[in-house]
């Protein structure tokens, strides 16, 4: 059981979720975050914090592919514990759909 980050995070990356997480299970890509499903304790504290409503439980319809996506990239990206830089145009990307195809970057966050 885990919560997962979906494509709604892409280019928004508000990071409001981080402060609520007891398990520090978020990982940072260049333009989105993911959750490590093995580390998530399924408490759901992060879900309501996301301004882009990008977080869902793995019991949600369509969640299966996002569990695999989160698993894959949490193994490749660095752990993130504290909110860092939020993109200036984050608000402009909240309503944009289909961001995975057009805008996803598989690169890890630059550190």
């Amino acid at each position: 059981m885990t919560y997962v980050v979906t494509e709604a995070c892409i280019k928004c990356k508000f990071q409001d979720c981080l402060q609520s997480c007891p398990a520090t299970c978020f990982y940072e890509g260049e333009n989105m975050l993911v959750i490590n499903p093995e580390e998530c304790i399924d408490c759901g504290a992060c879900e309501p914090e996301c301004p882009a409503e990008a977080i869902m439980p793995d019991t949600a319809p369509d969640a299966a592919k996002w569990v695999e996506f989160n698993r894959k990239y949490s193994a490749l990206w660095p752990n993130i514990r504290k909110q860092g830089f939020v993109p200036d145009d984050a608000d402009d990307w909240v309503e944009v759909e289909g961001k995975l195809e057009e805008h996803f970057s598989p690169a890890p966050a630059a550190r």
């Binding site: 609520s20 520090t24 759901g44 504290a45």
Partner: protein, 440 residues
């Protein structure tokens, strides 16, 4: 494992709950080479993860694994079965450690301050939750659950946890680690209606959506709200976050308002805008009387209209109180120690609920502890303090039988071995049983 007097700073943390473990982790990051001793009153660590988080929320309790990893670090030790003020004073700890961090939470209930609030059958959430979670302080509560209705006062997740535990079937609780004495008593109870009553309205309630949704999925109980108490939409004056969060809660309440109360054998009934006036009963709780309220400009005012609910027990989940540990000043609100950004005095700090009051979720204590750890590092003066090498002989001279992490794992193994059916563990509910496992 070393027993101290290395060159690094020595830290004592009082309380092995989430605040204490997050403080240990944060201090380990801020001050590499530090020796960190977590002093705990019970032989069992993890505080409210073990005794507060609901026994049917086993996935949430897996945060324990992260704390176990901290406990296993070579420079971190648990010193259990040691009670500050009884076995050792804060002043004595200050002689042995470069900094003392208090993390013992807010363990007592805020009183239900109305006439009849002391009748048999009135319980606080700390004692009631402690009872069903096998906390040794509360294992002997024997709550009156012999009538068909129970009233839970409060509009936070604690109230929901209590209502859910009272409403679940034995089968639903079979995979929990609820105290054996509690599951037996609940199996004999004949509770059909649990009322969750709040002073304010559904939009002011502090429930989280995840907990509300869970009430819609119980086997034997249906969650019910009164449709005239549920607004159509959230106010446009709220912040974007509040609009989002309260909007999701509102969807839950709307579905509860449409639920058929007779659909299942039991009901969890939400009752908003009612504040307790007095608890009624002859020698025990038989009913509780509320006054209807409205919220104006954030203030609750009574309307004069009353509401009486017949019930056999009242459980108030209306907040907690801190203990004046070491005679230290408690804030005017009663729920924390007086402090400035986590500092009480030079070398003496406070984290978690005891610092900021009993609010937030588990993770809130992580950021809280990280802030205080940074403050501690900035003010740290490392003296030639002995740490545990000084504390241990003092405790031994007072015949205190301390426990450590290895002892906890023995207790845990015995609890797991005693589990029946689908239970993850069968908890010991007394200090005597815990220490008996250790041959002490």
């Amino acid at each position: 494992m070393t027993t101290g007097h290395g060159p690094g700073p020595k830290f004592a943390i009082v309380g092995a709950g989430p605040a204490g473990f997050y403080a240990a982790e944060a201090l380990d990051i801020e001050c590499p080479g530090a020796e960190i001793d977590i002093i705990e009153r019970l032989p069992t660590p993890f505080g409210l993860i073990r005794a507060g988080v609901a026994p049917d929320h086993q996935t949430t309790k897996t945060i324990q694994d992260a704390f176990e990893q901290i406990a296993q670090r070579p420079n971190v030790r648990i010193v259990g079965n040691v009670e500050v003020d009884r076995d050792v004073t804060i002043a004595e700890l200050a002689q042995f450690y470069d900094a003392v961090v208090l993390a013992s939470g807010a363990p007592d209930d805020a009183p239900l301050d109305v006439p009849g609030g002391d009748l048999p059958g009135v319980y606080g959430a700390a004692e009631f939750v402690g009872w069903y979670n096998a906390h040794p302080d509360h294992a002997g509560l024997e709550p009156l659950l012999d009538r068909d209705s129970v009233v839970v006062i409060g509009n936070g997740n604690v109230a929901i946890d209590i209502a859910r535990i009272l409403s679940k079937s034995a089968a639903e609780l079979a995979t929990s680690d609820i105290a054996a004495h509690a599951s037996e008593r609940l199996a004999q109870a004949r509770i059909s209606d649990v009322h969750i009553v709040g002073r304010r309205g559904p939009l002011e309630a502090k429930f989280t959506t995840v907990e509300l949704r869970e009430l819609g999925e119980l086997e034997e109980a249906v969650a019910v709200a009164e449709s005239h108490q549920i607004p159509d939409a959230v106010g446009s004056d709220l912040s974007p976050r509040d609009r989002r969060v309260k909007g999701k809660n509102l969807e839950c309440f709307k579905s509860f308002a449409q639920a058929d109360p007779s659909a299942k054998a039991r009901r969890i009934r939400f009752q908003f805008n009612a504040r307790p006036l007095n608890v009624l009963g002859n020698g025990r709780v038989e009913a509780i009387c509320f006054e209807r309220t409205r919220v104006e400009n954030g203030q609750v005012t009574g309307t004069g209209e009353t509401l009486e609910i017949a019930c056999g027990a009242v459980i108030s989940a209306i907040g907690y109180r801190a203990r004046p540990l070491g005679g230290l000043a408690v804030s005017a609100t009663g729920d924390r120690l007086t402090n400035t950004d986590g500092r009480i005095a030079p070398g003496l700090y406070v984290v978690g609920w005891l610092r900021r009051g009993p609010s937030g979720k588990i993770g809130t204590n992580r950021t809280d502890a990280e802030e205080v750890a940074a403050l501690i590092r900035s003010e740290l003066v490392v003296g030639d303090k002995p740490g545990l090498a000084g504390l241990k002989p003092l405790l031994a001279s007072r015949n205190v039988r301390t426990t450590d992490y290895v002892d906890w794992k023995k207790i845990e193994a015995a609890e797991i071995a005693a589990a029946l059916g689908g239970e993850p563990r069968r908890k010991f509910a007394t200090m005597h049983e815990m220490l008996a496992v250790l041959g002490a």
